[in-house]
Point group: C2
Chain length 119, copies 2
DNA sequence: GTAAAGCTTCAACCCAGGTTGAGAGTCAAG
DNA sequence: CTTGACTCTCAACCTGGGTTGAAGCTTTAC
């Protein structure tokens, strides 16, 4: 059981961000009588997954959507939560990349046309 | 010479966005005595480039940075403006993709471990 | 010559994703 | 039993990238 400061330091995020993410409903903590947030291993794991998802460019809205979709089922919950997101993201990225590469080719051609025989 | 409404419709963006982008210094227009914004082909071309750059995930700050870097030189200006941005972005994407793919492999393995011989 | 459509500025608002700070309670150590 | 470190809530603020709306010109069309 971590307290907020410990977990924040451990995962290198701000305490305020942890409070914010909880308020937004994407992570959870356990409250003791003193009112402090405590985080067990499940809470921590979920947080780590959320952070990864954010790094990959998912918005909190997308994350919430997948969480709801998937409900609170059995075990490989978090992986099953993450996999569809990943697959979606990979597809998007593949598409983006292809567009970019096409545009780069176009650009390079343009540049060559516009810099005829200067030297 | 387009007026703002025409250009906005043509490129499928809002008029307010055109005003905003001008205020932010990333595009320009020509003012006539009546106070209206008019857009010549150069203005339009630059706008199109900015819009593409935005689609590719560049922030206005990044765009401004490249614009300043590159000053207002000669001709293939806009391509030379776009190329370094593209190259940077491509690198970033390549990196992201590799991370993602590694993570996906990890995930898939995990899922398999966690769903042993269920049926 | 008047109405509608188009344009102007300016200030206020919106959303996401947080951060900051005040005022107050909790806990461990000396 | 007080000090310092830690935590709580709540409200206000911030940034980026715009949107919305009011009040007032200009231009076009009849």
């Amino acid at each position: 059981m971590y307290r907020i400061g410990q977990l924040a330091k451990l995962l290198n995020v701000s305490e305020s961000k942890l409070r914010f993410l909880e308020e937004q409903g994407v992570i959870h903590s356990v409250r003791q009588a003193n009112g402090y947030r405590y985080y067990n291993d499940d809470n921590k794991e979920r947080l780590e997954i959320i952070l990864k998802a954010q790094q990959m460019g998912f918005s909190l809205a997308e994350i919430r959507a997948v969480q709801r979709q998937h409900g609170s089922k059995e075990h490989p919950v978090d992986c099953q939560l993450l996999l569809p997101m990943l697959q979606k993201k990979l597809q998007e990225l593949d598409q983006q990349m292809q567009q970019l590469q096409q545009q780069r080719r176009d650009m390079e051609q343009l540049v060559q046309q516009l810099t005829p025989v200067d030297p």
